[in-house]
Amino acid sequence: MRPIWHQALRIGLIGGAAEVLLALIGMIEAFSQRDIISHIISMGHTLLLVVVLFIAYLAAKRTPRPEPLWVLMNSLISGLIVGSILALLVMVGGLINLRKVFINASPLLYKLLTFDQGMKAGISLLLGGGALSGLLAGLLSLAPKPYLRVLILSLGSVVGAGVLQDLLRPTFALWGPIAVMNEWLFTANGLTLHGAIGLFVLIAAFSYFWAQKGNAIRADLKRLPPASQRALRITSLLFLIIILLVLPQILGLFLSEVLTIVGLYVLLGLGLNIVVGFAGLLDLGYVAFFAIGAYTVAVLTSPELGFFNLSFWEALPFAIFMGVLSGVLLGVPVLKMRGDYLAIATLGFGEIIRILVLSDFLRPWLGGAQGIGKIPKASIGGIEFATPQQIYYLILAGCLLVGFIAWRLRDSRLGRAWMAVREDEDVAQAMGINLVSTKLLAFATGAAFSALSGAIFASKLGSVYPHSFNVMISINILCLIIVGGMGSIPGVLVGAFALVGLPELLREFAEYRLFVYGAALVAMMLLRPEGLWPEASRRRELHEGESIETESQPSSESEPH
């Protein structure tokens, strides 16, 4: 039989490798420039600590025997191993110059890893710190679940406030009443100590209260008479609409810009959701329709080319029409392909469009690598949609319209036909569904939404370049609908915020954005493949055989199955 500490050893080694990787790719060093709590702990050290704690917690949970002593021993061992691997890195780095190969193995990194205490003291600090954090994680794993959740939530909010300080501060400053909070909560770099403690206590108290009373409140709401329940729902809906309308004023310029980008991706996601999520046609060249929409508007409106000089609203129907047309044109040849062949053919189609736009051959008409500039802004009755705060309303209107159409389509006859095709083409055909028109309609609808998004994108930026339309966009959109939950309309929203909004907010760590993004995608697929806000039927399908969870999730409506 394997010894009890076998798992702890393994997990500790994996954790150590992860920490060394984080150090060598320069993440620790880059994050250390920012303090979470001013002069007390930096983001880099927080990252180190979080990994150790997580690893040791995992080791504690995987202990084969439940006695607290064994659990604590295992978490201690894994924490110690993580610490000693880091110490090993410091020692090796002291002996040979790793920097010849690993450019981020700088003296500053070693200084950070040894907590600026010199080699010997630093190594013992690493070992001691690792063991101590391991022990701490072990103790936490023995604590009752609700308390642990409260603790993680409140610590998480402190760290989140520290990470997002540059966004929170200007946003608070816009609001008279909470502007005073800034002084109390933030310093120039990181939270103040009393601010951090205050925030921790506040969140902890609130989440503790919710953990105690939340279920009771929810049950009370359920017990209300139907009429007042309905009134409640309408009030909250109205409240939501008002919030959506005043949001850009609350958030300020930068966050509104982020919102517009997220909005464009929501439009794209809703379109691709119809093609991939509803009809099950894996399209990797979806960006082509986005490009076609943007370029149609650009060609029709830009005075730089001077062909037509239409206004945005005159050009918009053409853009959508071109999108639908190209959707059908792409759809016809790939009708008979299935699965991965379809994916690679559409990928090829997307690339063909980009390469054609980029080429010198079509330059007189499409502008080549320089793109097309001077695209006029959209305007209604003299009001121009120029700043992000104004464009937000344009995009919001687009999202609401498209969201409504997608929602109605899903429950329509056509929507059910799409889902039948997704589940099994042959059976669907046998049931009398016309595969050709069903699939072409899916391509056309998806392309129309994408072209609309492209048109708004062109008018928002004022110029279009072929480089904005590479295959990464298609992949990004695909990932966001899958992370959100395939075929789920609210999932698109969640996915867009998670995969587009969040990275946009953390722009200063742009170098590590895609690193974290990739790791998060893998982790997500391993741990929660159904997405963040899945369709009910899909969740059941993916967790087949497991006991049916009665998660009280605000999940989507009933499914036509």
């Binding site: 990787l21 060598l24 790719i25 320069g26 993440m27 010849k100 190969v101 690993f102 450019i103 981020n104 991939v276 894996l282 016809v332 040849p333 790939v334 009708l335 008979k336 392909m337 299935r338 699965g339 991965d340 062949y341 994916a343 690679i344 053919a345 990928l347 090829g348 189609f349 690339e351 063909i352 390469i355 054609l356 980029l358 080429s359 010198d360 051959f361 330059r363 050709v436 295959v471 992949i475 695909l478 990932c479 899958i482 395939m486 170098e511 590590y512 895609l514 690193f515 993004y517 990739g518 790791a519 998060a520 995608l521 893998v522 997500m524 697929m525 391993l526 493949p529 399908e541 993916l542």
Partner: protein, 353 residues
Amino acid sequence: MLKRLRERFSPTDAVMWLIGAAILTLVIWGSTATLSQGRYTSHHWFDFIIFGLAQGSIYALIAMGYTMVYGTLRMINFAHSEVFMSGPYTAYYVAAAFYSSGFLDRQPIISLIIIFIVSMATSTLIAILLERIAYRPLRTAPRLVPLITAIGASFFLQYTFRGLYGSGFQAYPVVKILEGEWMLGEFRILKFQAVVIIAAALLMAALYSFIQRTRMGKAIRAVSEDKETSSLMGINIDRMIVTTFVIGGMAAGAAGVLYAVMFKQVHFFMGFIPGIKAFTAAVLGGIGNIPGAMLGGIFLGLVESVGPSLFLDGLGIAAPYQLKDAIAFIMLVLVLIFRPTGILGERLAIKKA
């Protein structure tokens, strides 16, 4: 009679044939125009062909990894392009060290062999880790889930290597014995291109005979035919799947060094385009089909290097070389329309791909 005809030819078929005929006419028209203009001599064409063969054999080696993994797991291993990148990028540091110490010039053969081994070992290691961490837990998941995982792993690996080695282009040291040219009758051929073609051909021959002749190769083919039955026959499925990743990784690592010899630079993003091309090649040849992947790769390389000048120059299109990727993808779409199973046909059991 008319009814039968209508059953045979649906309107969508007609559209497809129309597109095909239009493209074929364009190709023939362009080629005759180019050839009658006589702007290129036979030396030019020879150069194009050799370059295409060299590029194509690199695609072919990478395509092996795609096609084998697709054969056994039915998934597009999107991260294979990063498996390809990791090898030569790591081996660059060995090559640079050899170069600065003068060992590369004194013992070029030995150093090249060591560079090859380092590159292949790194790529193989990455491929094994990928399979173990990212793909194995998802064997039974729906088809899209491993695809997304692969995309995520691809980002992760790209930016890991960017973080480790830096974001700039690294110039691969020049191997002196590979410079210069040989004469083949009246045609001259660049030495490194010839070496790339020969090395790739040898590797492919070795891989092919491994798959066809050995017991293990037979087991791999059995697994890609039918997993359940082969496991009943006493084949260890997990081991065979790892083996396909190992073989794919080795081929990709070797292809990486050849790529570095040919283009003389490495970069963390270098895998992306060759990766997509190689997958295209695998589909062209018929996915799951190993000789098909080789043939598809070489075919794609040739079309890319000869195509722009041959098809487009005669039509008076400016800078046809910019459109080489478009030609490759149009090629792919056409093959998929008219021969959906690829040139040599797919070797998959009759299931939905």
